[in-house]
Symmetry: C2
Subunit: 308 residues, 2 copies
Amino acid sequence: MIDRSELDCGREAVCRKALREILTSGYGLLKGGGSALDAVELAVKLLEDAEVFNAGRGSVLTAAGTVEMDASIMDGRSRRAGAVAGVRNIRNPVCAARSVMEHSPHVMLIGAGAEDFAGKHGIERAGQDYFITPLRVEQLERSRAAASSARIEHEASPPLPDDGATGTVGAVARDAEGHLAAATSTGGTNNKLPGRVGDTPLIGAGVWADDSVCAVSCTGHGEAFVRSVFGHEVDALMRLAGMALGRACEHALARVQAMGGNGGCIAVDTKGGIALLFDTTGMYRAWIDESGNPHVGIFGYRHKTGHA
Amino acid sequence: MIDRSELDCGREAVCRKALREILTSGYGLLKGGGSALDAVELAVKLLEDAEVFNAGRGSVLTAAGTVEMDASIMDGRSRRAGAVAGVRNIRNPVCAARSVMEHSPHVMLIGAGAEDFAGKHGIERAGQDYFITPLRVEQLERSRAAASSARIEHEASPPLPDDGATGTVGAVARDAEGHLAAATSTGGTNNKLPGRVGDTPLIGAGVWADDSVCAVSCTGHGEAFVRSVFGHEVDALMRLAGMALGRACEHALARVQAMGGNGGCIAVDTKGGIALLFDTTGMYRAWIDESGNPHVGIFGYRHKTGHA
């Protein structure tokens, strides 16, 4: 979820290039017989490494000036899932989420416990310096200045402008065997309270995958997506109300909007149909069409559903 | 979720007495015109204070010998929700969850961030000594011994016996104005990895409330409840598939069982119909019947649905 004002032409070009390369990597893995699970982990890992997105390196900062990241992954084969929240020293939180899924009896680990677990399972670490970029420092300073001027004017603190600084990353995929997977990763929201967790690491909210229904990854106003249980709502609308993927995503997004939230999602169904849906100015997105051709979008049409 | 072997007669009597008193307190609040939200917070607060349950004082211990608690609350009026996870020094985590809901723009805060927030909002603190009871120390020691003997035998670590030490607490209520609410609180599972979070603080998993559908609070094998998005699944089965409350709870529990989990839930619908469902040896439970009479159960029938 982004704001055109944040992007100068140079930055937009960097984003488009990164999206195209990452899409190509993920698709290459799938074409080579790789699993949907491996493809979404790879794509999200590369998105975390690209500092232009709000996940991994380039994550937005908390009110304390630190980076705290959340990530999740879900395997549609068995609805196995893994998630981490509030991690500060894991280079690729999505890889830690997968490790929790595969090497622990648990689904979700948070904070230092998650970091210790990841360390014991060979997940690469990085210091706070690695994650923090000048753009995110500047965004935090702008938020602090806005909050400060609001206080001087004796007003109640207004909602802070998010500087387009949501921009959670995610990936969904269907592989040659028909398995679905989804992964999501984020630094959260600019100037968030330390310890704040949004929808990204919550199974059924910011991520969902079930081979028999759909795979979904979300971005947007995290609290509204949590209270709408977005991913599982899309699943339920398809499974129980017989809706097609695109219509289910629209209905789920309407529930987010009804409580004042906005955002978007990427989703895939059992036949490979896709939905790329958002109600914001823009949403970084990339997909492969029916003919195997890559596409990248940032602004432009706000709703694409179809087969790919 | 409990095991009869854990309960000697004295302990069972203490549990029954506590349940009856807490039920009476919550019902008294509702009869005096109080809200469902206040009633579930009060009931869960008192359950946290009673050291015989696995929440607040009397929480089970992590593998590190510490107490880490999770709690959530949800208001059916607007699907507002609050949750905390991994908190160690908050006497009543459910009160912190409500404070997050009412005094922050967020839904979920974890770890030290949640503790700092609660401190700033006047939520009472307590040291680890307050929470840790001799029973929970003994249960952890038994688990460690079992894991150690398994290692000596060169076997893969078996799933540890839980000593009946799940026993998450929760409450659901419908008030005179027809509003629904739910709250859930837990110390998690005995000998859990530090940082492990189950379904309890996840909105749509261990807790759910929507005035137009139902309110649900869960206990059991947390990971399976997370992967089933239990509370929201019950809601979806009623809202989208037209099921009655009891049948929706049964279907949702079947999804938990299909992935090897078990547990139970308490739930109420818009008309005041209730469901108390579990597939385990026992589940501490208490409810008010149609005539306003209190009931307490621990073992006995495993499935009650009806109107109350």
